[in-house]
Amino acid sequence: MSLAIDLATIWALIIAFAVFVYVVMDGFDLGLGILFPWFPAKADRDVIMNSVAPVWDGNETWLVLGGGGVMAAFPLAYAVLLPALYTPMIAMLIALVFRGVAFEFRWRAQRERNPWDLAFAGGSWLAALAQGIALGAILQGVQVEARHYAGGWWDWLTPFSVLTGVSLVIGYALLGATWLVMKTEGSLRDRAYRLSWLLLIGILGAIVAVSIATPFLHVQYTQRWFAWPNIIFTAPVPIAVAAVTALLLRALTNKYDYQPFFLSLALFALSYAGLGISMYPFIVPQSITIWQAAAPENSQTFLLFGVSVLIPLILGYTGWAYWVFRGKVRPERGYH
């Protein structure tokens, strides 16, 4: 690992940042859809939908930035990974169509049993599962020849990718449950607390399982994590996971409404950092490095200029939008 920060590394960090923001922001609103079956009452579902209606579109825009950013900065990776992940990607896109339109459609449907609630829940489950499977498929590596994907059409489906798929569903559900703890009151919040407990146990199991399975995929992963002196830098990650878990347990026990969501985000950040440690400097693991995939320098600098000005601006007004809709969601006062 060279210490000099070069353009391709900067871009890898930017893409990693965009994908992470996507994962946590759309993560909690996908999580709400995943939890829909546990909140069958219409009144609860209305509150749940209201809690993200003003922000879901912005959350999903980070996914478009991730896709567009990879095409711009690492076109070769984009061209290899998307055909390799063809089926999970198509499944994800279709799932996102269903759950995206449900935000508006469910208020328009006049039937008693709302079909768009099913679309929202089903779409969220499928999108999360597909994203997790795609992650696992990338980690286990894809076959490349010349500048093309050269593997088969079912290569993405392995026990490992199913494990990462299920893990991400649980992880998103935890973000969703802790979001509800923060944004709601009464019996809805109490149920969200109980679900948070179960999901926390689930996600810890998933983190352990993925951590044990990953080094078996490639010897490079093992060396990256356990070889001296790397271990000095990698050891703090599991230690921090343990610390965040302890804080999360305390927050759930003492019912600090705001902490569980942010601590769950921290858990995601640590797991994500772990993935980054495993992958770097590959963008297609074990086949294509970020330098091989990098777009020519003038494409990367042209876009870097815009990113460095616009991302802070975007974070600013997105933060403002969240601030406007801050606090607990309540049935509108004035009708009571």
Binding site: N50, S51, D57, G68, A79, P83, P296
Partner: protein
Amino acid sequence: MFEGWDAVALARAQFAFTMSFHIVFPAFSIGLASYLAVLEARWLLTGREVFLNLFNYWLKIFAVAFGMGVVSGIVMAYQFGTNWSVFADKTGPVIGPLMAYEVLTAFFLEAGFLGVMLFGLKLVGPRLHFLATLMVAIGTLISAFWILSSNSWMQTPTGYAVNADGQFVAADWLEVIFNPSFPYRLVHMVLAAYLTTALVVGAVGAFHLLHDPHIAGPRVMFSMAMWMAALVAPIQILAGDQHGLNTLEHQPVKIMGMEGHYQSHPDGAPLILFGLPDQQEGKVKYALEIPKMGSLILKHSPNAPMPGLDTVPRENWPPVPVTFWSFRIMVGMGFLMFGLGLFSLWCRWRGTLFASRLLHVFAVLMGPAGFIAVLAGWITTETGRQPFTVYNLLRTAESASPLAAPAVGSSLLAFVIVYFVVYAAGVTYLLRLMAQPPHPGEAGPSHEVPIRTAGITPAIEGVTQ
């Protein structure tokens, strides 16, 4: 399933299908966002409640249409990689940054302020809310800027070089962005979006005027829409003519396809009004034509020579029957819009704008005309530049992913089924909203009828801690 099919043909069908479903929503929401900004501005300036009612009325429609545009747009953003990976690898260094700039400058702006625009009037007050509406409207226009720049670069590539890996790289970004066909295409498309929205607003207004010519809301929206049609339709015809001349300069083969000019005309080309282009035989059968008129329009001289497709190798021919007919449909719609605009001016002058049933029926029938024209126009320009993705430089057949036909065919089938279910529902909901006239005290998207009975609104009531 799909064994033995041509994977590239299926990928093209998938792109055409998903793109056609997508484009009608941006075309509508670009115009509608600007219209909403105008309505809110007039409400703030005059304080007249009718403008707020109309704003809330169209805002609910905007919310549904915008969501459908967003989700179908995400599909487009990933399709370059799934089905067109060679294209993505080769053009990514040029097209990628343009599309990333679209996300950064437009999509985030729209999405960031959309929540406040839809649900936040009470929370932030009218002035800040107007700012949010304005940001969403500006965002839709910025989005048009970047995506049309990308598309235009594919049509008339300039400012590029090719590197050792066979990738296009930018030699001069300004030349890439402001490539020769971009200004014309941008103007033509933004005007088309404004006209499309004006025709929908006009049709909804006319529909309610047919039932009751006295209610305020429909009168205001109908009058505004008819001004737009009367003013913008002639401008659009001029802009389209200029765009055509630009195409003749940079993509003459496309013009040959649009005009059905299989043969060269060394001393003045006719204008073929209608006919049946036969790609196999290379001629237009049963052609109804005006001699010399083609040269007069395109070269402003009746005897100017016009080369035809007989000067172009057959493997570089566009699919003339499609290009030829879609072009005529677009132009026909344009002239009908112009006619509606003129008719409305005449009725306005006579004082029968709100009374003429004939005008109202005409306006209702013209409701979908903008969508038809937008689709026909895009089909013209996209089939007319075939068989290339990057004009004269990268062939469509060499742009596709190394996919087997069953993979592309199954995903196409999935999109067809899903889009028909989702869009049928969406269009039903939109028409249901439009079938209600705007009422005094019209509620925004945050006061939903089915919810109000439960005592809950879709809007979040922010409560300071």
